[in-house]
């Protein structure tokens, strides 16, 4: 449990840093193109890579901290006991989804890895570098699902933190 919490915190830290980094790289790109007429070949692609890795790895953290957008109109009216079961059910749905996506996402990554496929873009990096984010992210999400399932079953549900859209 504590290990998973530590992993979640680390991924949140990583994701927030990656997204901020992409802002810095793209600013550099605009300055380079606009003022020095020298567009880079790496800024667009590397900042995209930041997004591709930031989102999946932080899914587990977002689940535990209840940052996902959900409809609470009905569950809020339920008795604590029913709410607990709704929570268990909801985590099971995410768990099944994650297992399937992990399996097939790994297949995509592994195929590109084995074939040494490249992206064919300006940087022409190996395709598995972006593709590995999906299996990695969903493996982390499964860990978080399991700890949250334990919390839900033992009746220690955290409060909604909600999310701003």
């Amino acid at each position: 449990m504590r290990l998973v919490t530590a992993i979640e915190t680390a991924t949140a830290w990583l994701a927030a840093s990656l997204l901020t980094l992409s802002g810095g790289m793209l600013t550099y790109e605009v300055v380079a193109r606009y003022f020095f007429n020298a567009p880079t070949i790496w800024a667009a692609e590397l900042s995209q890579l930041c997004l591709i890795w930031a989102c999946p790895v932080a899914m587990g953290w977002a689940l535990t901290h209840r940052r996902h957008i959900r409809v609470t109109a009905v569950t809020a009216q339920l008795s604590p006991r029913l709410r607990q079961w709704a929570e268990v059910l909801s985590i099971l749905v995410i768990l099944v989804f994650s297992l399937v996506v992990l399996a097939y996402g790994f297949e995509i990554f592994f195929d590109s890895f084995e074939r040494q496929r490249t992206t064919g873009t300006m940087l022409d990096m190996p395709s598995w570098i972006p593709e590995a984010s999906v299996p990695a992210g969903f493996a982390l999400l499964i860990l978080s699902c399991l700890t949250n399932l334990w919390r839900a079953l033992s009746g220690t549900l955290p409060d909604e933190e909600g999310v701003m859209e």
Partner: protein
């Protein structure tokens, strides 16, 4: 029949409390499995979503507005606008709308706009004796300007889904956004004059005005730089977002000195959190979208609409009613994501412009944000003002009428949206 089963399953998943992203994803995955289609489509859809360059604008616009927010820009903005128009009839209400409009130009989200301006304007207006219901409605509705006036996250997503130009969509939002501001202001002045009593605000001295304006000026300049930069072609929407983020850092960190490391870190985590939940919903909707496309549901609905609805006016009336009803219970992004692939083919067949249709959809999504039971802006104002959902909802009613009036204007005069991007 299939459609009904799918809808029931979707509602069941959502109401049990499954996050929207996973509810859409799981439903799509089950449909793929049952229809004998490859589940590989699920991870492919997720990767394809994260790989959209235009969607990189989402975290960056969020970073920009969160940094400005933590740097206290909302308060400065409202103070400056109030210094100029506060003493007019209904002056505080007018100041609120104008502040919402300006903040909308630096934020891509309605909820952030409602929360930022609501926090400063609501106590002020209520203490001056404005009718509570009017205040709630004004703030909830004013906040929705955040997604019509560029930058706008729903417009970015519409552009991503339809492969239409996001720049054109941004430019097209300006006209209807200004029309809506004008209608809101007009209504506020009339309502203040004839329907409610309040304590007028004393005119502010000139030196005071200039001081307040100077403090708010950087963010207004930032908004102008972003819009001007996109419009002049100096940068793409994604790059504009990056520049906006850097300039926001500069304004709050160097000029105003209101940003601390802790606040910056808070802004980064908030932006990341919102980005993750938004992009996951897009990915989930993409899986669901592939599944319904393979079941040929959008194609059937489009054929059904063109068989049964003969005229463009008929189509818009039917679609508006459907979207308004859907907007009662659906959250804004899911609406754009689920309904665009279903409705756009029918609209294109009737020769509606895809950019025009995007703006039209966004105004109806704005309506969804202020209609109960599920309306994010209602929740925001409810929590900011510690009032009941019912009271906030009743307050939004006149504004809902004004928004539908804007839809009618847009239908009668498409150039309200299309003039700026294509004819200016």
């Amino acid at each position: 029949m299939t459609v009904i089963v799918i809808l029931v399953a979707l509602f069941a998943l959502l109401l049990v409390g499954v996050p929207v992203a996973y509810a859409l994803g799981m439903l799509g995955l089950s449909m793929l499995y049952l229809g004998g289609f490859s589940p590989l489509m699920a991870p492919q859809a997720i990767l394809s979503t994260m790989d959209g360059f235009i969607l990189l604008a989402v975290p960056l616009f969020l970073l920009m507005s969160n940094i400005l927010l933590k740097g206290g820009v909302g308060r400065d903005l409202f103070a400056a606008v109030q210094a100029w128009v506060g003493h007019w009839p209904g002056g505080l209400a007018v100041a609120t709308i104008i502040s919402c409009g300006i903040f909308a130009a630096i934020s891509g989200s309605s909820v952030a706009t409602a929360a930022t301006i609501g926090t400063v304007a609501a106590p002020e207006m209520i203490s001056r004796g404005y009718n509570r219901r009017f205040v709630y409605g004004l703030l909830a509705a004013g906040g929705t300007l955040g997604i019509l006036i560029p930058p706008s996250i729903p417009l970015i997503i519409y552009g991503f889904v339809t492969e239409e130009s996001v720049i054109a969509l941004f430019m097209a939002g300006i006209g209807p956004g200004l029309a809506l501001i004008a209608l809101f202001i007009l209504y506020s002045i009339l309502s203040a004059r004839f329907l409610q009593s309040y304590t007028p605000v004393e005119p502010v001295s000139w030196p005071e005005r200039w001081r307040a304006t100077l403090r708010a000026a950087p963010s207004v300049v930032l908004a102008a730089v972003i819009l001007g930069g996109i419009y002049s072609g100096a940068f793409t929407p994604t790059e504009a977002a990056a520049i906006g983020f850097s300039v926001a850092l500069f304004i709050t960190g160097v000029i105003l000195r209101s940003l601390t490391w802790a606040k910056l870190w808070g802004a980064m985590v908030d932006s990341m959190s919102t980005t993750v939940s938004i992009l996951l919903i897009i990915a989930g909707a993409k899986i669901f979208g592939k599944a319904i496309t393979l079941y040929r549901i959008p194609q059937d609905i489009s054929a059904f609409l063109s068989d049964w609805v003969a005229t463009p006016l008929g189509l818009i009336v039917v679609v508006s009613v459907v979207l308004l009803l859907m907007g009662l219970v659906f959250e804004a992004l899911s609406m754009v994501l689920i309904m665009t692939p279903v409705l756009l083919p029918a609209a294109l067949a009737m020769h509606f412009d895809p950019i025009w249709f995007g703006i039209y959809m966004v105004i109806l999504v704005e309506c969804a944000l202020i209609t109960p039971p599920v309306g994010l802006n209602l929740y925001v104002i409810q929590s900011v003002t510690k009032s009941s959902l019912g009271e906030v909802s009743r307050g939004t009613l006149p504004f809902l009428v004004l928004m539908l009036l804007t839809v009618a204007l847009l239908y009668l005069w498409p150039d309200l949206a299309l003039y700026i991007p294509f004819k200016l």
